[in-house]
């Protein structure tokens, strides 16, 4: 039993370390929020479609903005470890790959959750879409989307980090994998805006849940191989 506590402890201290570092250096979250806001505004500005149609389109753009904004903390959560060779230090500690993966997943999930807390209200302000009226459904959708993006993003981020090339590979590798998530989220938002949270909305949520579960298990099982050099 205490082995579980040991791993849980390790997991918690890894997450705490990441949160502490982010709180002190404030490197990823501000730029993530700014990028998301800028994308959202840029799209809203050009859309002079009738209200109903612009809400439909903007729903998709919201999640795209969350994706591109979210790619910043995902990439930084790994590249910041390179600073003083800390990624090698993490590999020297007797830490399981799965614990490390779940810790980075938690950090990325929190970052994405914060980003959607910023962008969703801004989206409602810009398009006065009735999202906040059914806020339980919206928050469930946002949580599942963030979980899916974080699950796939953490594995891809670790892969991109282990390469020497400095280009932002995270977005290039993550977008194809995350396309179904973005499709699902924007379609679910559209049906939410139409007010029917009926079977289609439920099915999309199941798809998002399935996506995050699959990627979580893949990450937990495969992360050791990413750590090897």
């Amino acid at each position: 039993m205490n082995a579980v506590y040991f791993h849980l402890g390790q997991w918690w201290f890894l997450v705490r370390k990441d949160l502490q570092r982010e709180y002190r250096s404030r490197a990823a979250w501000p730029s993530m929020a700014l990028l998301g806001l800028l994308m959202l505004m840029a799209i809203e500005m050009q859309l002079d479609l009738p209200a109903a149609l612009s809400r439909q389109v903007a729903g998709g753009m919201l999640w795209l903005a969350i994706f591109f904004g979210g790619a910043v903390p995902i990439e930084r959560s790994f590249s910041s470890e390179q600073a003083d060779g800390c990624w090698d230090a993490l590999r020297m500690y007797p830490v399981e790959g799965a614990t490390l993966y779940l810790a980075k997943f938690a950090f990325n999930f929190i970052s994405l959750a914060i980003l959607s807390c910023v962008l969703l209200p801004m989206y409602v302000v810009l398009t006065d879409a009735p999202l906040l009226k059914q806020w339980p459904a919206t928050s469930l959708l946002a949580m599942l989307t963030c979980a899916s993006l974080a699950a796939a993003g953490t594995l891809v981020g670790a892969i991109a980090n282990s390469l020497r090339s400095r280009g932002n590979l995270v977005v290039l590798l993550l977008l194809p994998l995350a396309l179904p998530v973005l499709l699902g989220a924007s379609d679910a938002t559209a049906s939410l805006l139409r007010g029917d949270t009926g079977d289609m909305f439920g099915r999309w949520l199941q798809l998002l849940a399935a996506f995050s579960l699959i990627n979580l298990t893949a990450g937990v099982l495969l992360f050791d191989f990413v750590l090897e050099r």
Binding site: Q10, F13, R21, D84, G85, M92, Y93, P94, R229
Partner: protein, 238 residues
């Protein structure tokens, strides 16, 4: 049981041979110094011995067991490398606490406190590590590397850039490690530092280890400083 052993260790980086076939054995309480000019592969060898880097040929053994893919063996290995393995934003105390918890040490708070006091970092323990001076960060890195009392300690240029009393502290650390039956291996440029602290001094030349009796501080240290001459082409010049 030999704590640290390397058998025909070979490392090649995309068609460039760094280490040819290195055989090395370090017993408990024994200190070995590795000297050699820059870029001859000292750091590569240390990283292989620490299990951070896979070797192209041959193998590394910790207490008889091969180091391939061994997570728990890391408890017995302590590496203090050029990179500090420290988080710049965290304070020294938080860095050590994090390391203690990763190793799962008992009573981490107490261990960290004694380690900080021993390293003389008490009054700097609450400011971010980034603001510390080079010497203090090196002390912190050494304390972090030895926090879990490893039975194999590997140091990469431990003395570079230290002022006098830090150097004394470093030598004291090495002596204490040897008294505690730890297998120590460190790389250095400084010939007489190597002689005074190590039982055996080995030099890396053209990818191989060659024995050098400690105390012989004659010509080798001189030609080592001739600028621009790499051992490979030194043979052509001699």
């Amino acid at each position: 049981m030999i704590p640290l052993e390397a058998r025909q260790l070979g490392v090649a980086y995309n068609q460039r041979l760094v280490l040819r076939s290195v055989d090395l054995q370090i017993g408990p309480g024994e200190a070995v110094a590795l000297i050699g000019t820059n870029g001859v592969g000292k750091t590569t060898l240390l990283h292989c011995l620490a299990g951070l880097q896979p070797c192209t040929a041959g193998e590394v053994r910790w207490f008889g067991e091969s180091s391939l893919g061994q997570a728990n063996a890391n408890r017995s290995v302590g590496l203090i490398a050029h990179q500090r393995f420290l988080y710049p934003e965290l304070t020294p105390r938080e860095n050590l606490l994090f390391a203690a918890r990763m190793y799962g040490l008992a009573s981490p708070q107490k261990k960290v406190a004694t380690s900080l006091r021993y390293a003389g970092l008490d009054e700097w323990q609450h400011q971010p590590t980034a603001t510390l001076s080079h010497g203090l960060r090196q002390r912190l890195a050494v304390s972090r590397g030895l926090l879990h009392a490893p039975r194999i300690a590997l140091f990469d240029e431990p003395f570079s850039g230290l002022d006098e009393n830090s150097r004394q502290w470093m030598s004291q650390i090495l002596h204490e490690l040897r008294s505690r039956e730890t297998a120590v291996c460190f790389t250095t440029h400084d010939q007489n530092r190597a002689d005074s602290l190590a039982d055996r001094v080995l030099e890396i030349v053209a990818g191989r280890l060659s024995e050098r009796e400690s105390g012989q501080s004659g010509p080798s240290s001189m030609h080592a400083f001739r600028p621009g001459l790499h051992p490979h082409n030194e043979r052509a010049a001699a």
